[in-house]
């Protein structure tokens, strides 16, 4: 049932003046706090950057081992799970003659493309990967000058990223 709430307005409240003066004093306080004390919330972006949490999901990368060989074994799990269908992998067998890893890395990706324009940064690929190969870094500056730059190929994904970037 609807309940009628009566707002108690005193005689003076109906002229708006007291409330108005309170409001003006509040804004004046904030004005001087920003102007004199410099207490503002703004981050001066290109010079100062926001520190995001470790769980932030930004630009992808593929982790590499000590020999700078990618950890990915082309299992296609990430391509299968990706809801945006933006991962395209072509698999290849690693040359058995020069494979120090043995069965651990028999397969490798011939090409590994991610279309970042389709990606929704859900992080499912990262969760699905059994090798902890594909990961999302904390790099959030994804703007590019043309569409081609937003297609990440294997070479680009293998770039060195410290921690989570």
């Amino acid at each position: 049932m609807a309940k009628v709430v009566s707002r108690k307005e005193s005689f003076w409240d109906r002229f708006y003046i007291p409330a108005l003066l309170i409001g003006l004093s509040v804004t004046l306080k904030h004005f001087f706090r920003s102007l004199v004390l410099g207490k503002t919330k703004t981050i001066q972006y290109p010079e100062v950057k926001r520190e995001y949490s470790q769980r932030f999901r930004g630009r992808h990368f593929i982790s590499i081992d000590q020999n700078k060989i990618e950890n990915c074994t082309s299992c296609y799990l990430c391509q299968t799970v990706c809801p945006a269908e933006c991962i395209t992998i072509v698999a290849e067998e690693r040359d058995p003659a020069q494979n120090p890893y043995g069965v651990a890395k028999e397969k490798k990706p011939l090409s590994f493309d991610i279309d970042a324009l389709r990606c929704c940064f859900c992080g499912m690929c990262e969760e699905a990967c059994p090798k902890d190969a594909i990961k999302l870094s904390r790099d959030y500056e994804l703007a590019t000058l043309n569409r081609d730059e937003a297609m990440y190929d294997l070479n680009y994904l293998k770039r060195e990223v410290k921690g989570r970037g």
Partner: protein
Amino acid sequence: MSLFDILAILGKVAFVLAVVLGSVPLIVWFERRGSAWIQGRVGPNRVGPFGLFQPFVDVVKFATKENFVPRDSSKVYYHLAPALAVVAPLAAFAVIPFGSQIIVMGQAIQLQITQLDIGILAILAFAGLEIYPVMLAGWSSNNKYGVFGALRGSSQMMSYEIAFGLSLASMLLVYGTFDLNEMVRYQQNTFFGFLPKWGILLNPLSFLIFLIAIFVETNRLPFDLPEGDSELVAGYHIEYGATKFMMFFFAEYVAMIMASSVLVTLFLGGYATLPGVGLLIHTLGISLDLTSDNQQNLLALGQVTSFIFKVALIMIFYVWVRWTLPRFRFDQLMNLGWKILFPLSLINLMFVASFLAWIGG
């Protein structure tokens, strides 16, 4: 009219135009940075020192934008509206005195573009004209939001014109003249030798009503219903872009400066120097051993500065209020106008009239 007079008038026109138009970018800058400071932000600070050149860059941006005209608009009125919006408030500056007089080559020049005996009525007439751009723009651009903005704008300006006029009328009774110069001269008198006889002290209620009324007349928040960004997108100037929008934008600030100048002239002593400053200027003039002409010029300089200072204070107040109060609802606006301000100003007028009759007779 001699060549000297013509040159003097041209000089005054150039001075007033330069000061008014030059201060608009400054006010826009202050509005943006002031609002930022009030909201705990930084505001535009990249272009030039303290971001001071931001308005100029904005002007370039507006000027280089596409000159768009909606297909089904009435072209003549559509183009007339922004022009009228700028011209009406600018014209009113012609009668506002911004100083007493300066003496150049032995001839006195009144610091007022035209000395009209009915100055205040001319201002009222030009203030009344400010409704037309709103109505013309809203109606001619053939847009629902535009029409809504125009309807709201015209009705609110009409309603508040009454309170505006009545509070003005009570001041006319106090000063007993239509001449703005006379009013300022009256306000240069003092109570008990130190308190200046400013309109705000003579009739504070009238001042308050006038202050509220000019906020409505210039469509400033909390009374910006004709524009009402969150309801009407941009209201009456929704179909305007590029330079034509810039003219509306400019006109809003020119109208604000005009309204504050009238307020200052009527209630805050006009160009009368602040208490104490007059004495300072006088002693300075004597100690520098100036001729009486130059002393008068020095005084005039002080007066112009105080006038600009007072207007600037009111403009800061405008910005301050804008970023403090939320917008009124339309019925609240009408209630305030018709049920509170109108009776209040009427009672005030009656009171002033009977009081003056009592002490006069």
